[in-house]
């Protein structure tokens, strides 16, 4: 009797493990389902996140100070962008598990020269600016900048409990690692990959393939 029960338990366990392995294999293979191209292969692609809709997710590119090209703390708006090529960093914002788009034209005083989604120039530029709506930050070479400078130029609040119009604990990541200090003190340097989140956790990316410097 005892032996029969032992056998039954072992058989049950084997069946369960086999079913689990089959399910895992099917799940992995299903990741490529729907792909019809010749290069289709069972790879676990990242899951897309859409941008949030509504005014809270549509932040204007500048506050009053930048709109009038006024100095913001030690940051001055310089015609011609201050000269020289800029180095690049990237910032990504999430709220409630949705993307908060970073607009083009942060740190560029009007009148702007626009081309579609891009800003090609303006009256003057601050040491940190965006010319495209992709989160790509253009930093004046040699400037000592922090994340707080970006938000100051942008005219949006940033604190432990505030990100733009969202009031909730802010989780900050630099190159995929949690930044526990004041997010405004996070250094903005060449190649920095910054992720800020409020609400639902989104696994932060640690790397970003940058385009050629501009």
């Amino acid at each position: 009797m005892v032996r029969a029960a032992r056998l039954s338990a072992t058989a049950l366990a084997l069946v369960a493990v086999a079913a689990a392995v089959a399910a895992a294999a099917a799940s992995l293979a299903g990741c490529g389902a729907g792909e019809r191209g010749p290069r289709a292969r069972p790879v676990a692609w990242p899951v897309p996140l859409p941008a949030g809709r509504g005014p809270a997710f549509r932040l204007p590119a500048r506050g009053a100070a930048a709109a009038h090209a006024r100095a913001i703390g030690p940051l001055r708006c310089v015609a011609g962008g201050g000269g020289g090529a800029r180095v690049l960093a990237h910032v990504e914002l999430f709220a409630a598990g949705l993307v908060v788009p970073v607009p083009a034209g942060i740190g560029i005083a009007p009148p702007l020269r626009r081309r579609g989604a891009y800003v090609r120039g303006g009256r003057c530029s601050y040491p940190v600016r965006t010319s495209e709506p992709t989160g790509l930050l253009e930093l004046r070479r040699g400037a000592r900048l922090a994340l707080g400078d970006l938000f100051a130029v942008w005219g949006q609040p940033l604190a432990h409990g505030r990100l733009g119009g969202f009031r909730a604990p802010v989780h900050a990541y630099l190159d995929g690692r949690r930044w526990r200090a004041d997010p405004r003190t996070m250094p903005l340097t060449r190649g920095a990959v910054v992720v800020l989140e409020v609400g639902r956790f989104v696994p932060p990316h640690a790397t970003y393939r940058f385009p050629p410097a501009r």
Binding site: R6, A13, R39, W45, P48, P133
Partner: protein
């Protein structure tokens, strides 16, 4: 082992089975430039190499015409991993990226999406004939080829979805793109005919006014002055 361990063993097995059955954790991603740019405009162009402005104008025009005709397609030309930002691993997987991008930018309803990469074209939400249409375009090797193929694809996808677009403004292409512009001879034929008619009439008028003038040789003419 005895009977009293059976429930524990079963629980452990089920736990193990559950863990194995869980799909591998997949990263959530957004930081690919096309998804941000396409929220604002119809076509994403790569960082480098640059697409010639004339081709950009033609592709913008094709996408705008498709939108006007009721087929609001978004197009991304992806020339290098740098165009994919935080997900460079999707470079070369054009069909998978087309599906990914479509899900990022769709709002309330599926968003027809076309992606071009150096290895080929991919579509999402473009109807049942979409994949076959872009497969026929082949694999572009240059950004010019990607742009020309995308122009042809937009035209054909719109037509396949019952929203044919006017092709009057589109220029001709090389590989994978049929000529859509009006031939120059057709445009200039009326002007040429008018010029010939005007020239003929002038000639006749001159002959009527001085019938012998044309017969005089240049020497005579010169000597008379």
């Amino acid at each position: 082992m005895s009977l009293r361990f059976r429930p524990t063993a079963l629980a452990l097995c089920l736990l193990l089975a559950g863990l194995l059955a869980l799909p591998a954790p997949r990263a959530l991603a957004d930081a690919d430039p096309p998804s941000d740019v396409l929220l604002i405009q119809n076509v994403y162009y790569p960082y480098a190499p640059k697409v010639p402005p004339s081709l950009q104008a033609q592709l913008d025009d094709a996408a705008a015409r498709a939108r006007k005709a009721g087929f609001p397609i978004k197009v991304a030309l992806v020339a290098s991993p740098a165009d994919l930002g935080a997900i460079p691993q999707m470079f070369g997987h054009v069909a998978a990226y087309a599906n990914f991008l479509q899900r990022e930018i769709a709002y309330l309803r599926p968003q027809p999406t076309l992606v071009a990469m150096p290895g080929g074209f991919g579509t999402s939400a473009t109807g049942p004939r979409g994949p076959a249409i872009v497969r026929r375009l082949g694999a572009p090797r240059t950004v010019d080829g990607m742009a020309r193929g995308a122009i042809a694809a937009v035209e054909q996808l719109a037509a396949a979805n019952g929203r044919p677009i006017s092709t009057a403004g589109l220029g001709g292409g090389k590989r994978g793109h049929h000529r859509t512009g009006t031939p120059a001879i057709v445009l200039f034929a009326p002007v040429l005919l008018l010029a010939l008619a005007f020239g003929g009439r002038t000639l006749l008028t001159r002959r009527r006014r001085s019938p012998g003038e044309d017969r005089r040789d240049p020497q005579t003419n010169d000597s008379s002055t």
